[in-house]
């Protein structure tokens, strides 16, 4: 082998892994969403350890007050209850939304972004490579817009439920949460559910010219957010009722990822999984 050939061979052996990595990143633009999801989980788990140590609760925010210092994640609703009740309703609504929305969005990023492999690839490969990040960014913003609206709705619902029903015993609270997952199980058998599931695979034409690119990606994100809400709202609502219990969040995430990527959309397996979750919560409530 000549010296030149040897140099060329060495050069190839050094550059090949880098090129492979570049190609992997280009071919799998969904890494964006998985990275953001991982980051959200780090935030959640990081706060979990900080706050669980102080309060003994593995939950995200449910109640809080504008007075004094409020921890966003992992605090106990019961310890804040007395202060909270002194506030006027309008102030409590605003506070609920203001302080509840961020944890809600972190939860959405953590749980829902891993479900977006296909729509993200659709956007990424519909536009010029240099515009890929703009398209994906627009899509994710649109997706978050839908879920933000849903979050406001859920937080208000949760607030008024609390206002009407008042404080619940540990058992009643567990029973309501278990009922939420039971409803999620029933929803799996709903005849319209497979159609909603196929809509998770919808695509849309994306224009590649200038600001059209961003807008089309954004609207596609809004649409896909709505499609995801249509299929996932019941377990997400159940999670709100469970005060965003973090181990439960993790289980629900695993179940919906399994449902999205590994099961035919006519499968009832996820229904049984929700039943197991409901039964477990019910038993925990009794104990």
């Amino acid at each position: 082998m000549s010296a030149d050939a040897g140099v060329a061979a060495n050069s190839n052996s050094f550059s090949f892994p880098a090129e492979k990595m570049r190609m992997l990143i280009i071919k799998h633009p969904e890494w964006w969403a998985w990275f953001l999801s991982l980051f959200a989980w780090v935030l959640i788990v990081g706060n979990l350890f900080t706050n669980a140590h102080q309060t003994g609760h593995l939950s995200m925010i449910t109640y809080c007050t504008p007075r004094g210092i409020v921890k966003v994640l992992g605090h106990s609703p019961f310890e804040l209850h007395a202060v909270w009740k002194e506030e006027p309703v309008s102030s409590r609504i605003l506070t609920t939304i203001r302080t509840g929305l961020l944890p809600w969005m972190i939860m959405v990023v953590a749980m829902m972004f891993p479900l977006l492999n296909e729509p993200i690839k659709h956007v990424a490969f519909s536009v010029k490579r240099k515009d890929m990040d703009l398209g994906i960014g627009g899509f994710l913003i649109g997706y978050i817009i839908t879920w933000t609206a849903v979050g406001v709705m859920f937080l208000l619902l949760s607030f008024f439920l609390n206002l009407i029903i008042g404080d619940l015993s540990h058992f009643a609270s567990a029973l309501i949460t278990a009922s939420g997952f039971l409803l999620a199980a029933v929803f799996i058998w709903h005849p319209g559910r497979p159609i909603k599931m196929t809509k998770c695979g919808q695509t849309a034409p994306i224009r590649i010219q200038g600001w059209h690119l961003f807008l089309d990606s954004l609207f596609y994100g809004v649409k896909m957010g709505f499609n995801c809400f249509n299929t996932c709202w019941v377990p997400m609502a159940a999670l709100v009722l469970a005060h965003h219990n973090i181990p439960l969040m993790f289980i629900v995430t695993a179940v919906i990822i399994h449902d999205r990527y590994l099961l035919p959309h006519t499968s009832k397996f996820t229904g049984y999984a929700w039943m197991v979750v409901a039964a477990t919560l019910f038993i925990i409530g009794i104990l």
């Binding site: 490969f125 159609i195 695979g201 695509t203 849309a204 224009r207």
Partner: protein
Amino acid sequence: MKERKNVYLLPAGDTTLAWYSKAVVEMKKRPTTDPTSWNYQAAMHGFNASLSFWRGAAPLPSQTEQNQYWNQCQHGSWFFLPWHRMYLAYFEQIVAATIVKLGGPADWALPYWNYSDTSNPNARTIPPAFTNPNNATNGLWITGRVSDTIPPRYVTLGALNTIPYTGDGRTSPLGFGGPETGFSHSGGTHGQLESLPHDMVHVAIGGAMGDPRTAALDPIFWLHHANIDRLWQVWLNMAGGRINPNKSSWLDYNFYFHNAAGQSAQFTSKQVEDTRQVLSGYTYQGVPVGGPTLRTANALQNADFSTPLEITAATNQGVTLGSAKTVAHLGLNASPQKAVNLAATTNSAVSKPALTILHFENVTGKGVPPIYDVYLNEPQNGGDKESYYAGSVSFFGVEEASTPSVHQSGSGQHYALDISDLVNKLRSSPNWKDQQLDVSIEPSRAVDADASVNIGRISVYSE
């Protein structure tokens, strides 16, 4: 082991088609709820009660049974070939069992229709047994066919030159068998063989054949698909890197059918790769069968790390096709810094035409539109338009793909044409402009009043 024979090479006095006709008549007598009935078998491919071809099909099986067994055909997917192979195998078993019950031979095998045989001047015409007599006394006849003869450009076999099995023309070059998908009743980009000749033959014959929801009601459907199935083996025999996918998601995916006893049965792609191992086994006349070409880990690895294609131009609005020629101008950016242009379609580093793919995305529509012929930069002053012919698209199953259902998202269809050679040729023309591409789309025959096509976006992807 059975041999599926070329229908045009059946010897004089051969009874294959006569027995097929009798079996069809017999299967049509069975109720639609019977999995071995003609209607049930056809509905496994596609069904829609509102279509006239399905009039009188009731009573129907339960909705749960329909969801599991009906509307299962795989299109725009890497499952297109294995699913239809499975489907044909059980259908052949049911027909053969019916023929035995009627007192016929025990070794009946489905013939194939090789419409691409250039040595046979009649090859492109539906075999006469299917058209004569043209009334209900003939089990092989069906009302509503638009044409008995397929134009030559719609039966060419350029697909056999495609090396990779899998590909969508965006993240990878176009594939012979279709893009990687999950269950896909009508979804991803149609594979090369599926687009031409498969889709073309369906739409050119028209009538029931023109729509996946009724296609399998036409007895010629099964001979057409036997030929497509044969071409899969022909492609494998050509070797040179032609291999089936080796991913578990292709090999192990299960599909459900019914056997000749009417019992539920299932198949995976892995189980049908070698035709000699499918049920009692079969081969095709004149097509040797080796084992499936060995797959290598390297082949997959290399495909995974190849550069994806990149979009170079696209329309900035949807395109509606009508009964006249439609010309779509691919939109370009005003800003020179961001200009989208076709300069990238030259790969000067290797002095060969870069791979250039024309895409028709999110195609929605109604009815059974005709085949549309596509021309690039066709001169307005006439002349030899064939020099500008880029290919044809058939929109087979467009109505179904436009409607969300249990089996599809409703986002429409995707078609792709390899225009590398044509773009390279056009580039040498003095009229060529790197920042302009006009795509002319022309119907090959009159458009039915109830048919329409809307293309969400036309785009060009290049290496």
